[in-house]
Structure formats: structure tokens, C-alpha cells
């Protein structure tokens, strides 16, 4: 992850109703929940600010109706935010003209949809080549690129099939190939796997991780599934009633949930695979034994056996083998099972 900011949202509001702009003006840009309710407006996204770094995977979570899709759709300008500012690679996209927006979508953004959004009348090949066709790239070139993408997602040999002849997982692979065909900088995925059954879903997550290791894109990803989020995310943002209630690494979220709502999300998380040893260690004492130390960046699951079977605190070292702290049985139990 680099420090370069890819997307930056400042005080973004998206209000649905008869006259959102007038409504926002009347309330000085900061309507209260009561004002929204009493005037019959829906605050789908409320005062959301955050940055996405280049190459980062940001996962957005929240209950149904919490505004996740609306937020992503504001960034892609499928919806126009009511107020606020969104910069994409340093350019304000809210003032972008339709033409610029189309250019942006043609070259910089790719999106995968929950229900795939494939064109039923086109073959796999022609679906994947569609974004290229739209740009006016000639047939041979676009088919070549599309074929590569189809190979990449593992659908080689099915180029001539139609969407209805494919399983759900295969259809979503087509959706993924299509979104990647233009080699976008940022990849948006709105619950890409939630229409698939659980087995296929895991398979597709692995596929996704494989692709990301290959491509290293900036990703904004929506999911309902916290476990999925922890497998994939650099950072997780949790939304509630249109507001972003916490944005942090999975580890922080598990260790220090901002409120009960977030804690509820994190409750069933596989803590052993999320929390690192570093996060629960304390400064090393002088007399800590130095045999069989554990590494700070390891997840606690990997270090658990060593720590729990030792009758003394275990030394924590960094990659160079230098001691950075120690961890004892008590801290390990607490971290593994939560604050009991």
C-alpha cells in the first residue's frame, strides 16, 4: 500500500426525496435524523469522509439499507451526491462533465455487480469485449484482450457460450473479466459473491485474492460477510443508517470496536486469523526467556500453541530477530476469546 490517495470523500451526503438540494440548504447542510424523518427524506449517505489509498483494499460493510451501495454509486457517479466532495486521483468528479465521466469510466473504473449485469444477448466473449467495443477499439484487438481476460478468470473455452448457459459462479467470472478488460485503476465490487452459494463463494474469494495479487488494484468492495471482509481487507468501513461509524483495520475493529453495532459485526470473526501478536504484546521484561520466540507480525492463531503451553511470558521478535516485546497466556486467552 502506498501513501498516494486514490479516492478522497469529504462530507458526502446523498439524500433521496422530492427536493434534496433545497432540503439540505434549509438545514444548513447538516440535517438531523429527526429532520430527515419528519420531512420524509431518506439520508442514504450522511456526512461520510474517508480516503482510499492507491493499491488499498477497502471493504464497506453494514446492514441492508445502511447506504453501502449508494456510497459506491456516488463515487462512480451512478448516483449524484447531494452535497460534499469526491476526488478521484486528485480531480473533483462531481464537477466532471458527462464526457469526462464517460472517459473516466472507460479507462479508470471497473465495477462488478451483485446480479452480474451481463448482457443476455451477447456471448461471453462479446460481453467481456463490450467495454472495449464501446470505446471503438477494433474487433481483433478487443477480442484478443477479452480472450486474455477470460483465460485469466479461468473460463477459457467458453467464449461462445451465452450467459444463460453458465452457472452463477461462471457468470460472475464473466462480470469480473469484463470489469477488468479496460485495465481500470480502481475496481468497485458491490456484493459480488452474495448471489452465489457458499461453496462457490469461497472459491470465488480465493480467485479474487489470486487476481488481486496479480493485478494490485485499488479496490472498494462491499460485502455482508465479515469473515469475507477480514480475508480480503486492508481496512474495513462499517456503515449504519448512512453514516460511516468506524473505518479501521480488521484487527483494530476486532480489538477496539467503536460501539456495540460494530462489535456485533466483529463478534463471530475468526480472531485467531485477524489479530497479530504485535497487537497484544506488552513491553518485554528484562528476564523474559529467549527460547522459541514468536514473531510480532504473526497472527495469534499461529503463536497460540507456543504461548499457551509456556508457563512464562514468551518473547516477541521482529523480522530481524530483535526482541520487541512479550506476550503471556492471559493476554493470549483474552485475545483469542474476546473480553469475557
Amino acid at each position: 500500500m502506498s501513501d498516494q490517495v486514490q479516492i478522497s470523500c469529504r462530507n458526502v451526503w446523498k439524500v433521496f426525496g422530492p427536493d434534496p438540494a433545497g432540503f439540505m440548504k434549509r438545514h444548513g447542510g447538516q440535517p438531523t435524523t429527526e429532520a430527515l424523518a419528519s420531512e420524509g427524506y431518506i439520508g442514504a449517505v450522511q456526512d461520510v469522509s474517508f480516503d482510499v489509498g492507491a493499491g488499498e483494499i477497502l471493504i464497506v460493510m453494514g446492514l441492508s439499507g445502511s447506504g453501502k451501495s449508494t456510497l459506491i454509486r456516488c463515487i462512480t457517479r451512478l448516483n449524484d451526491p447531494t452535497t460534499g466532495e469526491i476526488d478521484f486521483e486528485g480531480n473533483n468528479i462531481l464537477t466532471a462533465k458527462p464526457k469526462e465521466l464517460i472517459e473516466l469510466r472507460r479507462h479508470k473504473m471497473g465495477m462488478v455487480f451483485q446480479n452480474f449485469g451481463l448482457l443476455p444477448h451477447r456471448s461471453v466473449l462479446s460481453n467481456v469485449a463490450f467495454p472495449l467495443e464501446i470505446q471503438g477499439i477494433d474487433r481483433r484487438e478487443r477480442n484478443k484482450r477479452a480472450k486474455e481476460m477470460i483465460e485469466l478468470v479461468g473460463l477459457g473455452g467458453r467464449e461462445d457460450y451465452f450467459p444463460r448457459e453458465l452457472s452463477g459462479g461462471q457468470q460472475q467470472r464473466v462480470g469480473i473479466a469484463r470489469s477488468l478488460a479496460v485495465e481500470p485503476d480502481v475496481w468497485f465490487l458491490d456484493e459480488p459473491f452474495s448471489a452465489l452459494d457458499p461453496l462457490i463463494r469461497t472459491e470465488m474469494q480465493d480467485e479474487f485474492i489470486r487476481l488481486q495479487q496479480l493485478l494490485k488494484k485499488t479496490i472498494v468492495f462491499i460485502t455482508h460477510d465479515f469473515e469475507e471482509a477480514t480475508r480480503l481487507a486492508d481496512r474495513i468501513g462499517i456503515m449504519k443508517d448512512g453514516r460511516l461509524v468506524q473505518l479501521s483495520t480488521p484487527e483494530q475493529m476486532v480489538l477496539h470496536p467503536a460501539n456495540d453495532y460494530v462489535a456485533e459485526f466483529a463478534r463471530n470473526a475468526p480472531r485467531d486469523r485477524i489479530i497479530s501478536v504485535k497487537a497484544i504484546m506488552e513491553p518485554a521484561a528484562q528476564n523474559t526467556p529467549t527460547d522459541h520466540p514468536v514473531t510480532g507480525t504473526d497472527r495469534i492463531g499461529a503463536a497460540a500453541e507456543r504461548v499457551l503451553t509456556a508457563d512464562h511470558p514468551v518473547l516477541v521478535i521482529d523480522h530481524e530477530g530483535l526482541p520487541v516485546g512479550q506476550v503471556d497466556r492471559h493476554a493470549m486467552t483474552k485475545a483469542l476469546f474476546g473480553a469475557v
Partner: protein
């Protein structure tokens, strides 16, 4: 929804529900209306000298348009002539190809053998062997029974009118989805157009464009266009959100989105629109024989007028077959899935249908040069059962008419005529008042004003009597339609097997152009009010059956099971649970039946009546646009009144039942 509520809600047709309507308002209106007639004659019968001479105005306006209107040096006449010329080109070419031959080049038309086989190949390509066999055999019938030229005449107009109507419809449909303002103008226009019977379109067209093939085609295009627009709107608006957004995210411009995403995705709906355009076109072309369009329709009209029933049956069958062929082909095409070929499939394999057709075309073309009978079957090689059918009908009439005649006369004299006299007696304040009260109770102020003022307009423009006769015919027929249709629908909903047969029959009946239904009616009942009603019955019963069936089918399983669990006998379950639930749907079927019945009254004018249909029919030869157009709009107005009242009622009822 909970069961107790439904059963309690109970039978809308029972006394209790009727009492829920404030009947007293109706009583007041009826009593008041009758009282008024004692005060002033005009309340019983609107005086002729108070009629607004809208008829004359419109007639004069169209005469002016046709003769004098001009912008600069271009008269309106030049404009209509330009349109005629423009339309006549493609028509002449199609006619040349199908039956005339290209005279200057000395080329014969496409040989009938090639057309028959070509249609069969098309059928196979779209729908497999069964379809191929059916369409091939149907086309063969046209040739063998010596109806080839007339069929090709009719088909030429269809083939040219369909693409034009479809293109205009598509364009307008797209406009509606793109602009609120266009929607506000176009949508109500379509509503009106759809309620106006075919024949009413013919009058202004005749005035502006004269008689013949081209005016017929023009009327056809105007008439057949709305369904395409409707389907385009529906199709575009129902493209899944995900698909549209994926298109937008791919970087589509609005135009690309329309042509590459929205329209192709709604192919099925668009094709069904095309199917309707084709069917409407055919129905209209047949009727357009009244304005001199030659072809099957005209032959059928002559046969009917001369009571040559044998010929009429053969021509009618030809029309029916063409209708069914066109319907099956377009429907099958709509539901056809694109198939993918593997990369190894040869060019030959991929295009086998087209290649085969081209081959047949060339071979028959060459062969037709030596054997003329391959081009068009000479008369002596054709076949007819006309005389036999005539004989059979005469024999049948001779024997059966002794029975049918008296029955007909009895029904007419002792039932129909009293009802008719009642409608004619009905003072207008009573009817208008009742419509207003019903409108207000069901749909509030807007529905009341619309329905009542439409009825008033009919009177003020001087169409009260023919309108009342129309209402009498339509409503007598509709009552019988319901008495026949609803039980059949109920029966169909009880058994899958019956349902399948019934629905197939319904589908087929609905593809027949309305004109056709006159043939058996004239054969059996000759002319008169009863014949009119029976023709309407034959045409308009289908929706009553269909909607009853669908309504009952849609009753949720849980509801039925709960009824059984509550200890309902089958009879109780049906009357207390299923029927109340299905009633709104059934009423929409009744609505549809009324619309079709109204459309049919315009056709039954051909076998004599005194209603609005007859007004249109009479206006045709005299080119009395005002009379014809207003009478047509009068029929539309009656349709709209019925539609608004029934829809308002059904909506209310559905809401009460918690459906949708």
C-alpha cells in the same frame, strides 16, 4: 394477509357489499332525473337545435385541409401526395416481388412454390419441424384454393406497413422513456387511439388520401403503431438495474446505452410488440377493404354482401391461416434463444436455412420460366369447395332455420327489443348522474368529471341515440359473455387438462381478425340485433375466460389450504375464499371484454345496426369526416368510461385484499 380478513371481506356481489355503496345517491339521481323530464322536454331527449354542430365543423375542417390548406406555396394536398408517393414505392416493389412481377424487366414474381417452401424453411429455422409443417401447409392452401394473388396483395400491405409502424412505434416509445413532456402528450393519445375502433381511422384518411391501397396502408400504420410503442416503453423500463448500470460503468454514451444495452436486452418484449403490430396490421388491412384496399378483405366483403358463403368461408379461412401463421412465426421468434455455434461449425452449417432458401429460389425461378404454373397456379389447377359449402349451408338453413328462426325472433322481440327500448327511453340526466355518482364513489372527483363529461359530450354532439344503441348492444353482449366466459374460466382453473385446451383455443381465437366472426353469424342467424350480439359474443368472450382463469390461478395456495383447514367444504372454499380473491382480476377481464365488444360493434355495422358503428360506416362513402370521427371517438368515450369505472373499482378492491 390473514384469512379471517379475506373471508370477512366476503362477496362483493352480495347484498351486503351493495348496501355498502350508498345506494341512496343513485336513487336521488334516478328520481331527480325522471322528475326533470316533466319540467322540460329537453331532459328526456336533448333537442336537435341545441346540438353543438361539431360534426359539421370537423367535416368542413377536413375538407379545407384536403382542398385549401397551404403553408406558403405548399398546399396540404402536396404534403399528403408526397406521403402517398413515399409509401407507394415500397408497396409497389413488394407487390412486384410477390405477385406482379417486375414488368419493365420482364421478370416474373417470386414463384409461389418458392414462397411456400421459403415460409416453411423460415418456420423450421425459428421453431422446428412442427412450425415448418404448419406454415408450409397454410401457404399451400392459399395457392391451391386460388387465393394466391389476393393473399399476396394483403400480405404486401402487411409486409410494408409492419416495419413502418414498428419503426414509428419504437421511436415514439423511446421518446416517452426519455422525456417527461413527450410522455405527458403521447401516453394519453395512445389510450385514446387504442379505444377507438379500426373503422374510425378510415374516414379522415379517405378524406385526405382518397381510396386505394396506399390510404389503407396509412390507416393501418397509424392504427398498428401504439402496441409497439407500448412494448418499447415496457421493455426499456424493465431492463434490470444491474444491466443498465454495468452498461453505464462500461462507459456507454446515452445513445450506446439505448442501442447496445436497453433495446437488445428487451428483445423479447419488443418482439411481442412486433407480434401485436403484425396482428393489428392484418386486422386493419382486412377492414381497410372498405376504403378500397384490394386483397382478401375485399373479396371477403364482396362475398358476404352477395351472400356467397362458400367463397366467404374459403377466404375467411385464408385470412385466419395468414393470421395464425404470422402470429406463430413472430411469437416463436420472440421466444427463440440465440444458439451458439462452436468455432468448428462450418459456414455452410451456420447458414443452412438461408442457403437452402436461396437455392430453392433460384431453381424455381429458372423452372418457372418453362413451367408457368410454378409462378402462379393457373385457375384451372386450383380447387374450390365454394359450391359444396354453399349447398351445405343452404340445406342446413332450410332445415335448421325452422328452429333457429323462431328462437331468434322470440329472443329479439320479447327480450332484446324491450331492453333496447329501455335504453332509448332512459333520460340523459339519469344516466349521466348515475355515471357521475359511480365515478365519484369509486375514484373520486377526477374519475367523476372525466366519465360524466364524456357522456355529456356524446349527447351535446348529437350522438345520444346511436350511443345508447351501442351501449345496449355491448352490454347485452357483455352480460352473456360473462355468463359464458366466467364459468369456462372457472372450469379451466379446476383442471390442468381443460386449462391447456381452453387457453390454446383462446390464443387462437384472439389471433383472428374481428371481421372473420361475421361469417358464421351470417350463416346461422342472418341479420338483426341478435346476430350483432352473437358476433360480439364470439369475438369478446375470450378475455372473460382468460382473466377468470388467471385470477383463480393466482389465489395463493396457503389461502386455499387454510380454508380447508378451517373446515370449508369445497363449495365454501370456492365462494368464500377463491372467488373474492379473484374478483378484481375477473373484473379486469370484463373490462377487456367491454373494450373488445365495443371494437366489434364497429364491425357488426356491416351487417346492419343503428349504433355508432353504423354512423362510421355510413360516413365512409360520403367522406363525412365529422360524423365518422366523432362516432369513433364516441365508441372510444364509452370504452374509457367503462374502463375508468372498472379499473377504479378493481384497484380499490385489490388494495382491500392486499394484492399488489
Amino acid at each position: 394477509m390473514d384469512i379471517a380478513h379475506t373471508t370477512d371481506e366476503a362477496r362483493p356481489w352480495s347484498g351486503r357489499a351493495l348496501l355498502a355503496l350508498p345506494l341512496w345517491q343513485f336513487f336521488v339521481v334516478i328520481a331527480g332525473g325522471i322528475l326533470l323530464t316533466t319540467l322540460w322536454e329537453g331532459f328526456a331527449r336533448w333537442p336537435d337545435d341545441l346540438v353543438i354542430p361539431m360534426k359539421e365543423w370537423i367535416t368542413r375542417f377536413f375538407e379545407w385541409l384536403g382542398k385549401e390548406a397551404a403553408i406558403g406555396s405548399y398546399s396540404f394536398k402536396d404534403f399528403t401526395r408526397a406521403i402517398s408517393d413515399l409509401l407507394s414505392y415500397p408497396l409497389e416493389w413488394t407487390e412486384a416481388l410477390l405477385y406482379r412481377g417486375i414488368k419493365p424487366l420482364g421478370l416474373p414474381p417470386i414463384p409461389w412454390v418458392a414462397v411456400v417452401l421459403g415460409t416453411a424453411i423460415l418456420g423450421h429455422w425459428i421453431g422446428g419441424w412442427r412450425l415448418a409443417l404448419f406454415v408450409g401447409a397454410s401457404m399451400l392452401y392459399l395457392s391451391i384454393f386460388g387465393l394466391w394473388k389476393d393473399s399476396m396483395r394483403t400480405l404486401s400491405i402487411v409486409l410494408v406497413a409492419v416495419p413502418i409502424a414498428a419503426a414509428i412505434g419504437l421511436f415514439l416509445g423511446i421518446r416517452v422513456t426519455r422525456s417527461k413532456r413527450a410522455a405527458a402528450i403521447i401516453t394519453p393519445m395512445f389510450d385514446l387511439m387504442q379505444a377507438t375502433p379500426h373503422m374510425a381511422y378510415l374516414v379522415p384518411v379517405v378524406v385526405l388520401f382518397g381510396f386505394g391501397q396506399v390510404p389503407a396502408m396509412l390507416a393501418t400504420v397509424i392504427f398498428a403503431m401504439p402496441p409497439m410503442a407500448r412494448c418499447a416503453i415496457l421493455g426499456i423500463q424493465t431492463v434490470p438495474q444491474d444491466v443498465i448500470e454495468s452498461g453505464r460503468m462500461s462507459g456507454c454514451t446515452p445513445r450506446q446505452l439505448l442501442w447496445k444495452v436497453q433495446l437488445p436486452t428487451s428483445k423479447k418484449t419488443l418482439m411481442l410488440g412486433l407480434n401485436q403490430v403484425v396482428m393489428q396490421t392484418l386486422a386493419m388491412v382486412v377492414i381497410a377493404s372498405l376504403v378500397g384496399a384490394s386483397g382478401l378483405g375485399q373479396k371477403l366483403l364482396f362475398s358476404l354482401q352477395q351472400l356467397r358463403l362458400g367463397a366467404a368461408v374459403e377466404q375467411g379461412l385464408a385470412i385466419v391461416l395468414i393470421a395464425v401463421v404470422l402470429d406463430r412465426l413472430t411469437q416463436a421468434y420472440a421466444y427463440r434463444e440465440t444458439i451458439h455455434y462452436s468455432a468448428t461449425t462450418s459456414f455452410f452449417q451456420r447458414h443452412k436455412h438461408l442457403l437452402l432458401f436461396l437455392f430453392i429460389l433460384i431453381v424455381t425461378f429458372i423452372a418457372a420460366n418453362f413451367h408457368k404454373e410454378l409462378a402462379i397456379l393457373p385457375k384451372k389447377m386450383t380447387f374450390t369447395l365454394g359450391r359444396e359449402i354453399d349447398f351445405a349451408v343452404r340445406e342446413f338453413s332450410k332445415n335448421a332455420y325452422d328452429y333457429i328462426g323462431p328462437v331468434r325472433d322470440f329472443i329479439t322481440v320479447s327480450i332484446l327489443l324491450p331492453i333496447r327500448d329501455f335504453y332509448l327511453w332512459l333520460p340523459w340526466p339519469v344516466l349521466v348522474g348515475c355515471i357521475a355518482v359511480a365515478g365519484y364513489r369509486l375514484g373520486g372527483f377526477p374519475v367523476m368529471t372525466l366519465t360524466a363529461s364524456l357522456m355529456l359530450a356524446i349527447m351535446l354532439f348529437g350522438f345520444w341515440e346511436p350511443a345508447m344503441l351501442t351501449i345496449y348492444l355491448v352490454f347485452s353482449a357483455v352480460v352473456i359473455c360473462i355468463l359464458i366466459g366466467v364459468p369456462i374460466g372457472v372450469l379451466a382453473s379446476r383442471s390442468e387438462r381443460i386449462a391447456k385446451v381452453t387457453m390454446t383455443i383462446c390464443d387462437t381465437l384472439q389471433t383472428f381478425p374481428s371481421f372473420i366472426y361475421l361469417i358464421p353469424v351470417i350463416m346461422l342467424f342472418k341479420v338483426g340485433d341478435l346476430s350483432n350480439i352473437i358476433a360480439i359474443l364470439a369475438y369478446a368472450t375470450v378475455p372473460a375466460v382468460r382473466y377468470t382463469y388467471l385470477g383463480l390461478k393466482r389465489v395463493p395456495e396457503v389461502l386455499k389450504e387454510a380454508a380447508i383447514a378451517n373446515g370449508c367444504t369445497p363449495r365454501q372454499k370456492f365462494w368464500k375464499v377463491e372467488m373474492p380473491f379473484a374478483i378484481p382480476e375477473i373484473m379486469l377481464g370484463v373490462n377487456q371484454t367491454i373494450m373488445m365488444a365495443l371494437a366489434m360493434t364497429a364491425i357488426t355495422a356491416l351487417i346492419g345496426s343503428r349504433d355508432l358503428g353504423q354512423e362510421i360506416y355510413r360516413a365512409l362513402p360520403t367522406a363525412d369526416t365529422g360524423r365518422g370521427l366523432l362516432a369513433g371517438l364516441g365508441i372510444a368515450a364509452i370504452g374509457i368510461i367503462a374502463d375508468r369505472l372498472i379499473s377504479a373499482w378493481a384497484t380499490k378492491k385489490k388494495k382491500n385484499l392486499g394484492i399488489e
